[in-house]
Symmetry: C2
């Protein structure tokens, strides 16, 4: 368990790192600047994060709202609850600026690439849990392609945020969920291997 | 009409700019470096692109495959043709690295932001034309929300490319199009205002 003073330093460093990423990008983040901006000693920062990449990972994790995994009893209810909290938090978050910078840096730095993969896996876990429960209830077929499920549910939201850099509104989320839920359920009703359709 | 020598210089500068963006990002691109890398005089570069932003816009446009707008007679045929060419070109293109850098720079530089908006509008035009023809044929309802249509068709593809940085394969594209087409068509069959569902 971190001591209170240590926790305060950790928090200050994460806030400074998030601000610096927003201003200059993941690729230009240095421990020196985090120390200067936060007033936390470099040695303390290195004690918390021996590698620059782990500081970046914690900063990005920290910028995400921890939405949890809703369990409302229906696929639509779960997804609306999940994205609903995101929509309400959207205006204040820095994540809309931090993510593009992380995607950009990932292509140039393999260490950041691994970090992004880890984060992407973490971020899709609630969706997979919601889908798995819907499959147990018989709302969705059992043999869906995980990539297609995550892509059709999360893709339209991420696309709008990244390409248009605008807050996601509830009407957009509802429209996209209507399409994804009806589309995924229709795969169930057709119930044929892709090649036969 | 550009003279041949002028066109050759233009082409060299665009190639150098694309390489530099891949290596160091849109935010770090300078005319000086494009001149040094391409061997094209700075004055020549400025004659073609008086503003740094227009050079970036042309470089990004140039990196996109010009897929055109297929007209096969059906919504599924048009979309499969459109994304099929993208899938085949995907492995060789630099666009997978250039786009994240552009998205990142757009959040920090309003001029780049305007440029990204222009590019996003250009890029969604073929999709809107394909959708419009499907509506005329009665394959899709007339009153669809354009944002939802573009988001559910393009979003899953862009998401997979950006978040996973992997080539898009044909099975993924087909799965996502199955979901989007069935989902959008189901809005037609329900044919009720969103609020009433």
């Amino acid at each position: 368990m971190a001591r209170p003073r240590s926790e305060e330093a950790r928090r200050k460093a994460l806030t400074a790192a998030a601000d610096l990423i927003v201003e200059r990008g993941v690729g230009n983040l240095t421990i020196e600047e985090v120390a200067a901006r936060s007033g936390v000693a470099k040695t303390t920062i290195y004690r918390h994060w021996p590698e620059r990449a782990t500081l970046i990972l914690d900063t990005v994790r920290d910028s995400f709202l921890h939405v949890g995994t809703p369990d409302t009893g229906s696929l639509r209810g779960d997804l609306e609850a999940f994205f609903g909290r995101m929509v309400r938090a959207d205006l204040s978050g820095q994540v809309g600026q931090i993510m593009p910078s992380l995607l950009d840096a990932a292509g140039r730095d393999p260490e950041i690439g691994l970090l992004l993969d880890q984060l992407t896996l973490e971020r899709q876990r609630p969706i997979l849990e919601i889908i798995s429960r819907a499959q147990e209830r018989g709302e969705l077929p059992a043999d869906l392609d995980t990539r297609v499920v995550v892509g059709t549910i999360v893709g339209p939201i991420v696309f709008r945020k990244l390409a248009w850099r605008q807050p996601i509104d509830a009407a957009y989320v509802k429209g996209c969920l209507d399409v994804a839920i009806a589309g995924l359920a229709s795969l169930s009703r057709q119930n044929l291997p892709s090649a036969a359709r």
